[in-house]
Every structure is written in C-alpha cells, then in structure tokens.
Assembly symmetry: C3
Homo-oligomer: 426 residues x 3
C-alpha cells in the first residue's frame, strides 16, 4: 500500500508550473489535480469580504501574463518563464516607464545575485517584478514597457477538505499549504506528501480515529478554516501535523506546539528520536506558519511540524533556487514515512495494565523465545520492561520512551499479552 | 526625577563619620539626616526590655570617647579617628593596665595586618579595642591607660518607617540597615540607596502598590519590626528587597528568598539577567542578613537581596578597608537603577489575555512598523510572541522570560494592545 | 553492639560449601545455621504445586552426589569438589555415554576458560554438568560414565521469616536470597550481612518501626511470599531493601525502585552520597532480582538495593570465580554499615517545625558553641540551616539533602531543640 518517493516527486513536477496564490484559479487547478488522487476531497469557496475573526477574506487574484520589454524591444522578464517574476497579488499595469520609475517596482537579492526572490503583497495594493540582482544591475537607462495582465476582484478563497471517518469521532488533523507558486520545498512538498498520506489513510481497512485533512492557503486559510470549525476542532482533535517543507534530503527539523508537551509533540519526538536522532529541535519562538493560528490562545490545538529543511533556515528559501532540484524522491519519501510512523503510533497507543501480580510466567505461555542468544535476551528484556511499566498509568508511548525502545516494537508484544489475558487496555 | 550617583555618594560621605550601633544616638542622628530627604519618615522607639518573639530589646548603648595611651604618653588608638577602634557595645572602662591585660581586650586581623576589624558584642558585656595587627605587634611592655566613655542603660531601639500609599493596599517592602558605624559598602550603601529609591517612589504620580520602607538595625531590628507587624506583612506584601551591600562597582550578586520562586525572586533574576547577565547567584544557604528573619518559617515573606559585592564575600568586608574609597557614585547608581527596574516591573506586571482568536491583523491597526528592516522585523517578532503567549495564564514577567525579552520592552506594546481592545488585563 | 566484618566473613565461610537451590535440604540447612544467630527466625514450608499468582511452586530438588568418569577411569568432574559442577535442578542420570552425547550436557565459558559457570534449569527438566572450558576442550573421544544422584519430587519451598515488633505497626522490610550454591558475592553476602543486620536490630532497645526480614529463594520465593502477604506489605511497608551482592570491596552500586522517589530511594541515596559519593547509580531498567516482583504494578513496594559490585556487572558473576576470595571482611562490613546508616535514618526521620517566629536566641540557651573558630562556626551554621528549613513541610532527611549535611548530624541537634521546646515533631 505504501507509495514510492518517485510517485510523490512526479506529482510535485506536475503541480510545479501552476501559478498559485492565496486565492484564484491556480489554487482550484491544484486542488483538482489533488482530487485525482483523493476522489472524496471536497472543495469549499468562501467569498471575498467574509469576516474571519479579526481578518477579512481578500479579493480574488488572477493573472494571465506579465513581462518587461527593454528599450531595445527585448522581453527581459517574462511571467511565462517563471511565475516568481511577478509580485503576488500585483495590480494590473500597462505602461511605459523610465528606469528610475521601473526600479521602484523591482525586487532582487544582492546577497544571492542569480536568484529571483518570492515576494507577495496581499494586503497592500502594489505592482512589482522580481528578478535576479545581477540582471537588475545590468539594466540601462531608457524607456521600458511593463505589463501585468492581472485582476483583483470579488471572488472567493478556495480550500480542499477530506474527512476520513474512524471508529471514534476524535480526530487527527493534517493541514498543508496550497498557496505557493513555483517553489518546491516550501511549498509543494507539503501538499504532495499530504496527498499520499491521505491516500494511505483512505486505504486503511480500520481507522481508530477520524482524519480531517485540509489543503489551504497559509495564514488566511487557517484563520478562515478555524473561524468555521474552531469549536469542533477544539473538542475533537487529539493530535495533528502542519505538513510543510518536507521535500529535501537535509536534516529533519521539529517545531513543537505552543504547549510543548501535547500528544503530537510526544509522538513526533519519539519517532524522530528513534529514526533520525540527529534531528533539529526548534523552539515555538521559531514558528512562522499556521502553527501561529492553530496554537494561538483559546484555539490551542495540539499541532506540530516535522520538516526537513525548515522554512527560513535554508539558503534557497523563498527564492527561485527552491526548485525541483532541491527536492528529491528520497527526501519526500523519508518525510512521508516519518509521518506514517507518527500516525501508526497515534492509532496504536493505549494505556496497558497487567492483570497479574508479580511477573507472569512467560515460559509456560510460549512468550519466551525458543532460541537463546543476545537477540533473544534483548527480546525478553523488552517484554519484561513493557510488563514492568504496564501499570495502567502510562501509555505505550510513554513506556516506549521510558524503556528506550521504539513504540512499534512494543505494539505486537502488547497485542500478544492482551490476547493471553495478561494485559488490559485502559 | 532620577537622582545621580554623586548625590547618593555625597549622602554616604555625610553619614559615614556617625558612630551607629543597634541602638543609640548615632541611629537617631542617621535617621534625622535621612528625614531631610524623606520628610514623611516616622521614627519609632521601642523600649529596652521589650520582648520580641524569642528576643528582648537590649539596653541602649552610647559612647562619647575612647582611647589607649601608651607608656610614653602617646594616644595610640583613638575613637575620634575611627569609631571602628572600639568594640561595639563596649562597657565603660577607665583604668591603667599592663600589656598582657590590655592584649586580652584587643582585636586585630593577622591576615590583614593593616586593617582595623569591625567587632561587636551586643549580647555579652565586655570592652575592647580594635586595631591593625601590625600596630598591635609593635606594642611594648609597660603600663597603658585605657578609657572608654560609654554607657549601657535602659533606653530604646530606634527605627524609621515610611509608608507611601498606592491604589492597592498590597505592599512592596524595602528594608535596610542603619546599625553599622563607619563602614561603606556594608553598610552605608543600603540606607543611602534606599533613601533615594524612596524619594523616587514618593515622586511617582501614580503608585499601584503601597510601599513600606524601613530603616532598622540588623537582626534585632527586623525581629522587633516583625513582632509588631508580621500579620500585616504576611497578608499584604507581594514583593520586597532587603537592600544592603550596594555600593561598590564589582559584580552583581543575588540572594534568593527561602522559597526561591516568589515574585521577588523572579523579578530580580529577570532584571539581573537582562541588565547584568554575569551576576552571581547565591543559595539561600549563603544568607546572613535580615532574610534570615523575613524568610523564617511561618513568616515567609517574599524578600530577596540584589547586591554588588555580597557581605562576607569581599576582602574589605567588616574591616576599616570597607571605606568611602570602596564605594563609588557609579557603584551606588548602578544598584539604584537595578532596584528601580525591579520596582517598575512589579508595578507594571499583569496577566494579559488576547481578545481575538488567531493572530490579530496588526497591519490595519498601524501596529506594524512602517519602515522595514532588521530592527522592525525584531519589533514585529516581539509583538507576535507577546500575543502568542497572552493566554491569560502567564504574567508579562513570565512571558518576558519565555520569549527572552526584557519585560520593559513588552509593557508599552501591551498597553497599545489594551488600548486597541485586543488585550485584556486579567 | 556492632558486629565486625570478620564475624560476617566467618559466617559466609561456614555457609559456603552447602549446596543450595530454590528448594531442598541445602536451604533448610542454611536457614538452621542462620537461626543460631537469630533464634526467633521462623521457617515456613510451602508445598510443591501451590499456586502463587501466575506461578506454581515446583518440585523439591535434592542431590547427594554427581560425577563424570573418563574413559581412563578418572573422576574428572566431581560434585564433592564443587556443587557448581552440576546444573541446578538436574534430573538423575546414571549412564555410559560417548563424548558427543556427553558434550550436549556440558556448559562452559569460552571467554573465561578456567571458570566453571553457574547454570540452573528450574522450569525445564534436563541434566547437565558445568566445567572450565579448557577442561572441556581437552576431553578425548571415548565412553564416559555419568552419574547424578538427585531427585525431584513433591516437597516444599522453604523460607525464613523474622518479625521484630516496633512501636508502630508500619514496617521496614528486608529481603535476601538463600538459593545460591557455592557463590560468594552473589550470593552469600546478602544473607550473611542480613543476618547480622537483623541481630543488630534485635538488640535495639527501642524500635520505632516493626521489621520484617525474610530469607527466601530468588524470584519464586518473593512471588510466594507476596502471594501470602501482599496486602499486609502494601499497607504497612514504609521502606525496604533487597539485600544482595554486598561482599566485595569495589564501588557501591544503587538500584532504585520502579517509582524512583520513595522513602527508600531517598534514604539510600542520601547515605551513599554522604558516605560513598562515587557510587554508581543504576536505572530500574538494570534490575534483575526480586525488585522485579516487589516493584511490579499493583505491588509497588518501596524496595531498593544498595550493592557493592552489582549482579551482572562484574567478571566473576555467576562463575566459580565468585568465591571466598572475592568477598572480604571489609567489603561485607562496609555494606553492613551503609545499611545500618539507612535504618538509622529511617528510624530517626520526622518533620520538624520550629515553634517561634524568627530565629530563636540560641545564645541564652547555651546552644551556641562556647569556643569560637571554624569548626564551631560550621556547627552554628548547621543549627541555623536546620531551623531555617524546619517549617513542618520538610522531613529531616529532606532538610539534610537541602542543606547538604549528613542527616545524622541533624538528629542530635533536632533532639536538643525539641527538648528546649523550640521544635515540634509533626
């Protein structure tokens, strides 16, 4: 049932060229492609002007083309080549300007002279172009033709939502961004990995928890979604992940929830500690994405992020260098697997309580390995340690941390002990 | 309104020559000089023999003159030159003694041969002289004339008390010593700095808390004061400082309360960490002053000490070397400022609660800096972090520690947010 | 009243040759020798087949002789030389076998070629011999005569129990093993030290707590005892020690209870920290003895172990090298003393509360040392620190840890203060 890294990567390649923003046709196009993998994904439209807590859904932005033509008549900056060349939410323009005027509308990075920056201006109307700094420096005085064929008008904010029912109405929540244009690690990796995680979850024959998976634009999307569903989420969500920056092959990163010790925090750190012990642990002060909304006072959802290279912490971040060369099938697949391990831990956790006083006689039940040796001694040790801490107060996850074993080693043992009547699920 | 270090230092120079002890005219003279700066200071007299918990107010001690005349008729030790030459609370003597007898009444420091030690004998009657060890070694056999013109009779223990009313009857408590003769860091620095802190507090147009400021002799003074006011103090005091050893320019020192985590402990450490991160943190086991009484079982006031060179921990301590050369305007002023910062933190602390779900839209309220750049990014970060933790459970002080910012940076932001209706004071 | 290390060692020499196992005459013989020191020791017999929680008392095993005779007619392995040569609980055999067949019943240690291992097979019937690996390698093909004159039949499990009543029916529990044959550190040291600890306790004129001291076979013995007495133990036991591996002179070891912070844990670590600060602190995951039963979920007794070289952690463990050369009078006596210190701490602990506000005037009560100097200053400091923390919330043990003094320094001071009416026992 497991997907491969190649499939995730191919999906990223397919979505990469689409010009996404926090609203508009690019978002709809992206969601419709995701729906090819998740037929039950529902698309929702929230009209411009809708009040969401302290915010208002902005006008919808769409763009068809944009370019700069130099005094010699050459098209030197072209939206068709890269959608990063236009400042997101640029108002339309069609004018001839001299270099000084043009320059006031240009954005570039002196420290990364061959990279085009990713710039947006959602809440202040302006127009602008982004380009490599070395190209900007080479511009000569003269008259330039500039054209942005965009419009900014009443429409709606679009998001996708998939509910996968489980035995319990308690929920696990997955959220990811669909507002970034042609950028790869931050952010096509998030929706691509989440799509295949959702597919894996949809294929499970038995789900303990209900899964709520949303594909939203960052910030305004989570605020919008919370304004509609905060009470349900607060009541039901037991754990959740804001999935983003999961595509490259560099070191894993962990961003805790504001509360720092929720079920999600403990699961994520257990899995990372077992699988990738060199992971970087950030502070909630290092936050920057939708954890800002999900963990805000009064909302307080147990949402964490497991990332590869964290937003703001890698040189290609928010530039044209964050492209399909930065992410890899292996990078995407690693993050996908780590999230699956987390979801499996969440699904299989419970508070075990041993039903007999003193150690049970395992030999007579065939729970002792028949072959002796170092490996079997270790297996016996794990059984003994699991039993010793199965006091009805600790969960399997807590026991796993205490006895320094991966939780997935304990689950089959606990199931055997339950089947033998030696253990109860509290 | 801030005083200068020079003014504090000049006041120390003025008080230095007065011969203070735990009772007597030197205390009254000192308090009357303090009253020139604090006209509302009230002097209280508690008669000798009064029972105070397990203690009894001793007889009052006064001294007019004292000297030793050597066999050659030279006045070799003279109270008029330094009041440290006489053991505090010495009984009167007027006699001719040989060197052997005299030597039984001499006190000196072999390890610091040119310093005169500070010695007292409050609760056992004796007489004695203090002198440099090198002078003592040079004494030749012969008949010496010794004279101490003192008296020890029923009188009273004198202390000063200033109450500065605030909006609340909850109190902040400041206590300092007025029992040391000509000694500078320990202790004229305490009453001098406290005098100007009280003056600053008296000049505040708005006080949230009531301030109780006392000038007392060490140990017997605090026991006496507590025997009169313990219940009121236990009910009202939210924070307090035992102000002593605040005059030299060496490293700051912190002595916690017995409880270790009171409001005073947290405020003092926050301020020291922000302003003087290299400060020395002592243990309550290193105590030695009136924290012994204020933090005793059943009293348990939240009293801490912020010092420069801590009593018992600098070479000049309790010797004639602890003189006006050891303390400086800068040293006194630094300690004065640290205490003012603490009092400001106490006055301005509250539990903020954000009134909207999710992050508020700061842009539309002009709470985003208009100029961008590193500094403004930092300012935005502080606002965001303050809001993120304003959950009604943490105080501003706790938030400041959590987000690693000085509390005084948060106060004006919190006020702006309250004014915008985005924040409530819980 | 203190015994000497020589007496403990001589007792170990006397018990060493007896062939003990988890049942049988060796156990009875051992207990009858212990009874010469502890006349009130009661012997209990629990019949084979009795159900004890998840376990069943096995058949009783006795052995009279055993040997291997080689093809040349030489007795090459002889139970009379060392009882370690026979696998514990070996079924009887009397046969002639060739080398290949014999070899399937031999146990040796390739890594320690001159040591005979200690091997048992309590719950699976088999026969076997243990011998040095170098001897095994030298065996030549041919017919061997093997004989084990043992029997395995319904009988009983034997254990000893001594109850020493105290003023309180709350109990201190000591448990030790009597199931190891000729092995010295693990385990004759345990019952030998425990015998003399019990003798010391029996000689105390005043016992605050009731002492329950048991001499049992490991695992099945503690499970049996708990099956009979768990409810009483759970209600009454305030502290306890599983005494084993207390005979050599190497570093002290500490094994905590599962709960990690019981009274026993705190006492043991206080004593070790004060007397042997270099001790090794193990984790409960390193357990292996009867703490597995005493600390199991639902039993949860406050039982810890203070050892010298811990089981499983020294090269001679479970081999013929763990002999009377490994343990010494000094080693045994050191462990004996550490346990006595622990028992004294347990007996003398209480929650002191000072009866006066502020520091009491110690001078007038003669509680200040009359001679001054460094040592007396330290004594004054200890009195002051004890008083400062005698707030009725902390026990003497907790205060001792807080003020970094051995608890036994505080006990006589606390008694003096109680006698003066300055301190109450809460």
């Amino acid at each position: 049932m497991l997907t491969s890294g190649e499939k995730i990567y191919e999906f990223a390649e397919q979505l990469f060229p689409i010009c996404r923003s926090i609203t508009g046709e690019g978002v709809r196009e992206t969601l419709s492609r995701i729906r090819t993998h998740l037929p039950n994904l529902k698309l929702h439209e929230v009209p411009s002007g809708t009040k969401c807590f302290d915010w208002i859904i902005p006008l919808e932005w769409n763009i068809r083309d944009a370019w700069i033509i130099d005094p010699q008549g050459r098209k030197i900056v072209d939206f068709q080549v890269s959608n990063l060349h236009v400042v997101g939410y640029s108002t339309p323009i069609d004018a001839e300007v001299d270099l000084a005027e043009l320059d006031r509308h240009l954005y570039s990075l002196p420290e990364q002279p061959n990279a085009t920056p990713y710039v947006t201006s959602y809440y202040k109307e302006r127009w602008g172009f982004c380009l490599p700094h070395e190209q900007r420096l080479a511009l000569r005085p003269g008259r330039y033709r500039v054209r942005i064929d965009s419009d900014l008008k009443a429409g709606s904010l679009t998001y996708g939502e998939l509910i996968l029912p489980g035995h319990s109405n308690k929920e696990v929540f997955l959220s990811t961004y669909i507002c970034h244009p042609s950028l790869a690690n931050n952010e096509l990796s998030g929706p691509c990995v989440t799509t295949f995680l959702a597919q894996w979850l949809a294929g499970l024959k038995d789900r303990r928890y209900t899964y709520r998976i949303i594909f939203i634009p960052e910030t305004i999307g989570s605020i919008t979604y919370l304004s509609l569903h905060a009470e349900a989420l607060k009541e039901r969500v037991v754990a959740g992940f804001n999935i983003n920056c999961v595509g490259d092959e560099r070191v894993y990163s962990f961003l805790p929830s504001r509360a720092e010790t929720t079920f999600s925090d403990r699961v994520a750190q257990h899995v990372l500690h077992q699988l990738h012990p060199g992971y970087l642990k950030y502070d909630f002060l290092d936050r920057g994405g939708d954890e800002r909304q999900y963990c805000s006072p009064g909302i307080d959802l147990p949402i964490v992020s497991i990332m590869r290279s964290k937003f703001g912490c890698y040189p290609e971040y928010h530039t044209s260098l964050d492209d399909l060369n930065l992410i890899t099938p292996e990078g995407l697949f690693g993050a996908y697997l780590v999230h699956i391990k987390c979801l499996q831990c969440i699904e299989s956790d419970f508070r075990p309580r041993i039903t007999v006083y003193c150690e049970p006689q395992l030999g007579k039940r065939g729970l002792y390995p028949t072959l002796s040796g170092k490996e079997s001694a270790n297996a016996v040790k794990i059984i003994g340690d699991l039993i010793a801490y199965s006091d009805g107060r600790r969960s399997l996850l807590e026991i796993a941390d205490r006895i320094r074993q991966p939780m997935w080693e304990l689950v089959p043992i606990a199931e055997k002990l339950c089947a033998e009547g030696l253990m109860l699920r509290e």
